[in-house]
């Protein structure tokens, strides 16, 4: 008896399906944020929800991110389960007071008497001139604060499971999506399932180097691993998926085995997740483990708009592979894959505009 072909969905459709299934299951779930109910429906990620659940549960907001975050928190404490949507992560800076001072602390500072089951959806942009204020990966700011959970799924399967887990979680969850992942496809079960807090994914097996890729950098690291395989280097790519809580044990075990840890963040390095992961592994493994470390992330600049500058702002499969090669074969000549071979399908396909 042959098993049926797995169903393949795009990231955006898997995300939409997760919210749909949770809204169907639980009437306390509602979705709000600027543009969630318009004809473009946040790049399709909220498509059909208004027609199915009505304007009481799917509604737009004034451009008042600060107060709307407070409204979401109050509604959550009063027993509802809001999903607050922001079309760019940069806009979360307008929500910081409520997220950091109230959402993260409500359960603790009010002695465990209230809970804040809130999901804050946000999308990171990249390319097509998204620039300094539409491209930021600010997850390091949120993982810094006790009381917030942070998740950055990198494929269609995980985005559905993480969204369902986030909605069912009794804590505030900062949910990071990436615009360039929206059209990527993977096998997605039709039934509801969770990819819960603390779950990570070993994407490729390898013995020579452990590469951790955060958010879309997981996809870029997988492509880098393919390039490395062509020159005889096997990389173990780990997608941490959840950044808080972080599955450091899986990363630690892999790094101990390969002896090399390269962390690729979709964010800046200073005070960020790459520093945290390297520090946590270094502390736990100790100097006797002899692990070699390296990090890559955004250039320490704002994100430029011109593609000729932007190309140098982000790590990419070529630069990741070259860095890993240098870690694994320090005695050998420097190796850089061709720019053409280093392109990712989602970058080749994407024509803009956003």
């Amino acid at each position: 008896m042959s098993s049926p072909e797995p169903r393949v969905l795009r990231y955006v459709d898997a995300l939409r399906e997760a919210v749909d299934q949770e809204m169907e299951r639980d009437p306390s779930v509602f979705v709000f944020g600027l543009d969630v109910d318009d004809h473009k429906s946040i790049q399709g990620s909220t498509a059909g929800l208004l027609a199915r659940y009505g304007a009481d549960r799917v509604f737009t907001t004034p451009l008042s991110e600060d107060a709307m975050t407070g409204v979401a928190i109050g509604a959550a404490m009063a027993g509802l389960r809001p999903v607050h949507v922001h079309i760019r992560m940069d806009f979360l800076l307008l929500c910081m007071n409520q997220l950091v001072n109230i959402a993260a602390k409500a359960h603790y500072m009010w002695g465990g008497q209230v809970k804040v089951p809130l999901v804050v959806r946000s999308m990171i942009g990249k390319s097509w001139g998204q620039g300094a204020q539409h491209s930021q990966g600010l997850h390091g700011m949120f993982t810094h604060v006790p009381g917030l959970k942070v998740v950055a799924p990198s494929n269609a399967h995980d985005v559905k499971g993480c969204m369902i887990a986030a909605i069912r979680d009794d804590n505030p969850v900062v949910f990071m999506e990436h615009r360039l992942l929206y059209n990527t496809e993977s096998a997605v079960p039709a039934h509801p399932y969770t990819v819960g807090p603390g779950e990570s994914r070993v994407c490729t097996r390898g013995d020579d180097v452990t590469i951790v890729g955060i958010s879309n950098m997981a996809q870029e690291a997988i492509r880098a691993a393919e390039l490395l395989r062509e020159v005889g280097v096997t990389a173990e790519v780990i997608d941490p998926i959840w950044l808080m809580p972080l599955d450091i044990d899986t990363i630690l075990a892999s790094a101990r085995r390969t002896g090399r840890l390269l962390v690729i963040d979709n964010g800046w390095m200073a005070g960020g997740l790459s520093a945290e992961i390297v520090a946590a592994v270094a502390e736990a493994a100790g100097p006797s483990a002899g692990i070699k470390f390296a990090r890559m992330g955004f250039a320490p600049t704002p994100c430029p708009t011109s593609p000729w500058l932007e190309d140098h702002f982000y790590p990419n499969p070529g630069s990741i592979a070259a860095r890993a090669w240098a870690m694994v074969r320090p005695e050998r000549e420097r190796w850089v894959p061709s720019a053409e071979s280093a392109k990712l399908a989602y970058q080749v396909q994407f024509k803009g505009p956003f």
């Binding site: 407070g70 109050g74 359960h107 008497q113």
Partner: protein
């Protein structure tokens, strides 16, 4: 005052007890403060208790209130546990936040006190979130959120009033305007110091200003607004002009600080709402209330002093739900 006959006695008795209880709780907190047993900065509402008492008098079980760091009056007026409050002041495990909130972050979910917050204005939108849930539930519940005049200068105040009006949320914004943000007078902060109600009206929130400290006028306004809200009407704002008798934070008076003269305070002290409502009662009745209040406070202090301190492992509890 708009009261007479038997209603006067029942009402006055109830209101005086509430006023006197809050006044004395805070005076006792101020007395204990110098002993360093209270492990929390305190922002006392002495002189402005009547706003919480009058608004909470027209609220019911199931309604919610939220407020600022100056919320002892709100908490007690809505029925928050006095021993829980006092133990929280002492940092004890039996405190209303188990020693993790202190004076500025008080809560009693069972009594409908949804919590107070130390960042000015930050509970205003949270209250609107509760009101959204109340509207969805459709049971006629309302929310009252207490804020100072300073909070009306925060962006989230404008954002919240607009949203509350847009969605006809059952939330009463209660602005206790004591004229100072810490030590800065309204005239140094607003081009139109008297314009708080006009701002609310412009955003679609009906507003009433009560400038003479009359508890019954505040209560009449609140009753009218709350009644309308229970029937599906939208938000409203009451601006109650009040005077803070003590310093911004701490147990003392600060008329020697140079930013406000005692002469400014004296008319408010002469018109003390606690004394005014107390004068509606027979002296014997008033004395009995006073004795009962003192006994309750003594018991709350004893409870706080004898309660255990939190165990060290409690530090790590409740970071996540």
């Amino acid at each position: 005052m708009s009261v007479n006959g038997n209603i006067v006695e029942d009402e006055a008795h109830r209101l005086y007890r509430a006023l006197r209880r809050i006044r004395r709780v805070e005076e006792v907190i101020a007395e204990i403060y110098s002993s360093d047993k209270i492990k929390s900065p305190v922002h006392l509402a002495i002189g402005q208790e009547h706003v919480s008492v009058s608004v909470c008098d027209c609220l019911e079980d199931g309604d919610w209130v939220g407020g600022s760091y100056r919320s002892h009056a709100m908490y007690l007026a809505k029925g928050g546990s006095l021993p829980g409050l006092m133990a929280e002041m002492y940092g004890k495990d039996t405190g209303c936040c188990r020693g993790k909130g202190g004076s500025m972050h008080i809560i009693d979910v069972a009594a409908g006190v949804m919590g107070s917050s130390a960042v000015v204005g930050s509970q205003v939108p949270v209250a609107a979130g509760y009101a959204l849930a109340a509207k969805r539930a459709g049971e006629g519940r309302v929310v009252a959120v207490f804020l100072g005049d300073g909070a009306t200068e925060e962006g989230c105040f404008y954002e919240t009033l607009n949203f509350a009006a847009l969605h006809s949320l059952p939330v009463l914004f209660v602005c206790e305007n004591n004229g100072y943000a810490i030590h800065e007078p309204l005239a140094k902060r607003r081009a139109r110091p008297g314009g708080i109600c006009a701002v609310a009206e412009a955003l679609g929130v009906p507003a009433t200003r009560v400038d003479d400290g009359d508890l019954f006028r505040i209560r009449d306004a609140a009753t009218s607004f709350v009644t309308r809200m229970r029937q599906g009407g939208g938000p409203a704002l009451i601006e109650a002009v009040v005077y803070r008798w003590r310093e911004h934070v701490g147990p003392n008076e600060d008329y020697d600080g140079g930013y406000r003269p005692l002469s400014e305070a004296l008319p408010w002290m002469e018109a003390d709402p606690v004394a005014r409502v107390g004068a509606l009662l027979d002296a014997d009745v008033r004395r009995k209330v006073n004795e009962e209040v003192e006994a309750e406070i003594t018991e709350a202090v004893r409870f706080a002093e004898e309660s255990p301190v939190p165990r060290p492992e409690e530090l790590y509890a409740n970071v996540f739900a």
